[in-house]
């Protein structure tokens, strides 16, 4: 972009100085729009097993066991509060990655209550699940949507992703500990001890289809994930997501925290069922 602006200015100078005709310069770099606009190429990327490149992938049984233990522990937590700092790469049409940060504040009370607030430079969202309904509220624009909620958070996460194309923040927390998530892992390594925010963790690295990822699990009796890094491998730019998590296992909260009471000037809009875009709607 900067280069293009410079090129334009140069072009101007040329035009104004009268050296050569501007005509011949008009082949200045065209916007690189065409290359990327096809978008949505991800699913068509051939699925190469992670092991293909270097023979059989290491699948360290102790790393798998550590992940399993963490998952089991997480599933046993009835209430918890997390403050997560996340960063996520976004890949532009031309392949350049830019990183966006966000802060997630989340309170969970199993089996079916959640309140999460996600604040980034670009968006502010609050999610409320009180066991009966789920609401998303765009605070600054003051729009909200409410749908009926399934009985558990795990099912809520499924419904939101499958039906509404909406991913709950830190959604892995509701899936870890399931057999399926372990089965998908093709490579597993124990990298060694590591300090995260002053806490001694064990650092593990995993590979599975579409992602290389790492998790830092607190050592000792509270095997909590303290940090998560996911590198998407289906895009050439290999964008990365990072979350650093601070845990509170004895949060204080009010029951009303999970129920969304719309401000009186908030406008209710629909949460569109995927796949969006939906066909034109005619209210009358």
């Amino acid at each position: 972009m900067k280069l293009q602006a410079v090129a334009l200015v140069a072009l101007l100078v040329v035009a104004c100085n009268g050296h050569g005709s501007p005509q011949e310069n008009e082949t200045a770099p065209a916007p690189s729009q065409a290359a990327g606009t096809a978008g949505v190429a991800e699913p068509s990327v051939p699925a190469a097993p992670a092991s293909a490149a270097s023979g059989a992938a290491e699948r360290d049984a102790s790393a798998i066991a550590a992940l399993d233990r963490m998952g089991t522990y997480l599933r046993g937590l009835t209430t918890f509060q997390i403050r997560g700092e996340t960063s996520r790469d976004e890949v532009l049409d031309d392949g350049q990655s830019v990183e966006f940060g966000a802060v997630v504040d989340m309170i969970v009370q199993r089996p079916n209550r959640i309140r999460a607030e996600v604040t980034s430079d670009r968006k502010q969202r609050l999610y409320f699940g009180d066991g009966k309904t789920f609401s998303v509220w765009a605070r600054r624009m003051n729009y909200y949507a409410t749908i009926p909620a399934p009985p558990t958070l795990r099912e809520l996460a499924d419904t939101l992703a499958d039906k509404y194309d909406l991913e709950l923040p830190l959604v892995d927390l509701f899936y870890w500990g399931e057999r399926k998530s372990l089965d998908e892992i093709r490579g597993a390594s124990d990298i060694g001890p590591s300090q995260i925010d002053g806490v001694t963790c064990e650092h593990y690295a995993f590979r599975q289809e579409g992602a290389d990822w790492q998790v830092w699990i607190q050592q000792g009796d509270y095997p909590l994930p303290r940090k998560l890094v996911i590198r998407t491998t289906t895009d050439d730019a290999r964008p990365q997501y990072t979350a650093t998590l601070a845990w509170n296992l004895a949060p204080s909260y009010d029951d009303t925290a999970f129920t969304f009471v719309p401000p009186k000037d908030a406008k209710r809009i629909t949460l569109v069922e995927a796949p969006a875009p939906a066909p034109a709607t005619t209210p009358h």
């Binding site: 009268g18 890949v91 729009y143 949507a145 964008p239 209210p283």
Partner: protein
């Protein structure tokens, strides 16, 4: 030596420059890093959304990053931005809109008001209208209906409800 021809060329190019920059500055996103390992979520795949608007580097410097939960008066959150990706674009107070003059121009030029098409952002001069309990944004003769597409607010072009 200046000639009339050069002068005209020069002036013409000067006039085109801001527009050219505004067009070239648009860069869409082809996708984001996935944010979970348990779901290879389609939420990470880019939707096919018109990504018009946005480019201005220097027009409006009114930045208010400190948004107050108690509804601060100044809602004009314009951060210089060259990337047109998923973002809350309209923080308007009731009567709509809010973006830079340059961006508005770009939007007016590029937004195709085809019924059923979806955009992340609205053109200029929109007003929020409620018809039979449904919220719309009326922008000239084009009507948009806001909706959540995943966690993003998008606007779909609809037939005028009245």
């Amino acid at each position: 030596m200046w000639t009339w021809r050069r002068l005209v060329t020069c002036v013409a190019m000067l006039a085109v420059l801001p527009l050219a920059i505004s067009v070239w500055a648009q860069r869409g996103s082809r996708g984001a890093a996935r944010s979970s390992v348990s779901r290879s979520s389609s939420a990470n795949v880019n939707r096919n959304v018109s990504r018009d608007v946005n480019a201005n580097r220097s027009v409006n410097r009114d930045v208010d990053r400190n948004v107050n939960a108690n509804r601060s008066v100044n809602r004009n959150i314009d951060v210089d931005r060259d990337i047109d990706v998923d973002v809350d674009r309209r923080y308007g107070v009731g009567n709509g809109c809010c973006y830079h003059p340059v961006a508005r121009t770009a939007a007016a030029v590029t937004t195709a008001a085809v019924i059923g098409s979806m955009v992340y952002s609205l053109p200029s001069s929109c007003s929020e209208v409620s018809v039979d309990g449904v919220t719309y944004q009326q922008c000239g003769s084009t009507w948009y209906q806001p909706q959540f597409s995943g966690s993003s607010v998008t606007y779909i072009v609809v037939n005028p409800p009245r």
